[in-house]
């Protein structure tokens, strides 16, 4: 596409605006994370004397506000990984039934997954809190994992189902003639074929639980039990939080999701888009 005259000006103007709008908050977050404590209250668009001491402090846990950073990182990782594994199991099994076996109840199950996907997760926060208290699960990672599974598996089933439908049924029939039972079909034929969609779902579930704040803050307490976002939220309760350390922690916490998004964005988007465009 070649542009001339005022169209070129408008086009590049719009691109420039979008670039600044998108990047500025991120740029400023990184800038702040490189600022020394004594420069923190002199706002500036660039860092005159950058330092990595905020990162060092966070990783070495040598400031009282990040004293349990590595434990909290571990908590975040464990919760996200266990959620992802569970969602993959639930999602692949459910989508196999919906996409490959004709049976009664398909419509009901598809409506209920859609319902769970759409309802805002916070609406169930109070009864969930009560339920976890009754089950004596408050404060455990399991409580958060269960809720994350609840809100991510409907979408997982939905996307995997959509993808599984594209696999031609003749493959199943041919395998059935060769004497393959449903379990063989599932493991040997279905799973390898839907692998790209599984990558998208795993990324989605991992990021959903990695990013979760509300349920983590409701269920978890104590410096060594909470996840990173909860710890970052707790910063705000202190009188004068050191924002440069907070921003260093923010950058560290954002790196895994950003890497995942950029590695798998094609997978993620194709799934999301096919779900939405239809």
């Amino acid at each position: 596409m070649r542009l001339r005259g005022w169209r070129k000006v408008v086009f590049f103007g719009a691109c420039g605006l979008i670039l600044i709008w998108t990047v500025f908050p991120v740029y400023y977050m990184i800038t702040l994370s490189l600022v020394r404590e004594e420069d923190l209250f002199k706002p500036s668009l660039y860092v005159a004397r950058p330092t990595i001491e905020n990162y060092v402090m966070t990783i070495q846990q040598s400031n009282y506000l990040v004293s349990e950073f590595r434990t909290q990182l571990y908590n975040s990782v464990i919760i996200a990984m266990l959620t992802t594994s569970a969602v993959l199991i639930i999602g692949t099994l459910g989508s196999f039934a919906l996409a490959r076996i004709r049976f009664r109840g398909t419509r009901l199950i598809s409506s209920m997954t859609l319902f769970t996907y759409i309802i805002p997760s916070s609406f169930l926060s109070i009864p969930f809190f009560k339920l976890m208290a009754d089950l004596n699960l408050l404060g455990t990672k399991l409580s958060v994992i269960l809720v994350m599974i609840t809100f991510t598996s409907p979408y997982a089933v939905w996307i995997l189902w959509d993808y599984g439908k594209t696999v031609p049924p003749q493959i199943d029939e041919a395998a059935a003639i060769d004497g393959a039972g449903p379990l063989t079909l599932f493991f040997r034929i279905y799973l390898p074929l839907i692998l790209p969609a599984m990558v998208a779902i795993a990324t989605y579930a991992f990021l959903y639980s990695w990013n979760e704040y509300l349920y983590a803050v409701l269920f978890l307490s104590g410096e060594t039990n909470i996840t990173i976002p909860v710890a970052m939220g707790n910063f705000l309760a202190t009188d004068n939080p050191p924002w440069n350390i907070l921003m260093a922690e923010s950058v560290l916490y954002s790196i895994p999701p950003v890497i995942l998004y950029y590695c798998f964005r094609r997978h993620l988007l194709s799934g999301l888009v096919s779900g939405a465009v239809k």
Partner: protein
Amino acid sequence: MAQNIQATVISVVSHRRERWGGKTILGLAFCSPLILVFLVLVITPMLYMIYLGLDRTIYPAIFSDPIFIQTLWNTVIFVGVAVNIKMILALVVSALFSAEHWAVRILSGIFLLPWAIPSLPGILAFRWMLNGQWGIVNKILNDLGFAGYPWLVRRPSALAAAIVYHIWKYLPFWTLIFVAGRRSIPKDLYEAGDIDGAQPLQKFRFITFPMLRNLYLICSLLSMVFTLGDFVIIKIMTGGAPGDSTHVLATLAYRYTFQMGKIDWGVGTFITALPVTLLFIFILIRSVK
């Protein structure tokens, strides 16, 4: 003829029987983890919430709380303004991202950044940028010769900050959805438009928008339902301040339940929004199927 009908009836009956037979058991067995999650972790909390919400004395109590009424308005403003501005912007920006140009290819990679960064770091960065004393926004205003403004200390600007963050964070996602939507419009429609001498705005009005209208409405509705339950933006950006005047449903319910110990008020807050939410969900389920 009669034989034909008979054959059809038999095949239907046998088909029925089969669907109730081994295949149904097999299908339900594969779906059992999903069904279990749904029964235990969706239906149970839902019924429990409705049970708590049946207590009719809650509603006069919360409706006489001025903070609750203000929160309802805040939620309507937050959802209505943020989602609609974001969707219109996404529709406009998606035109730019549909263009074949080297600048667009570079930009579309960077453009995803807000969506990829988790909510908390982004909101915290916005909060510090808007700090009245040491924020960079006021610093820039001062350098340009304007007076600074205590953004997060006044209700309208604090709500506006939450709305701006919402748009910043979710604009990329919906833009990409609309880019995909635009790609699915058949090219020959535009070629026909070219032959008839249609101007760009006419092409948008008579081709693009009619083709995208359904997608646009579904996406807007979906985004509204999601945003209706938003907790983290207000909680981290303003914490409800100044003086509990910027709460939305979820943060007020949190305050009622976990800070004031009034669990029934918290439940009542969500129940109040439930009819609208369920109506939206019903429309969405109907239209997605």
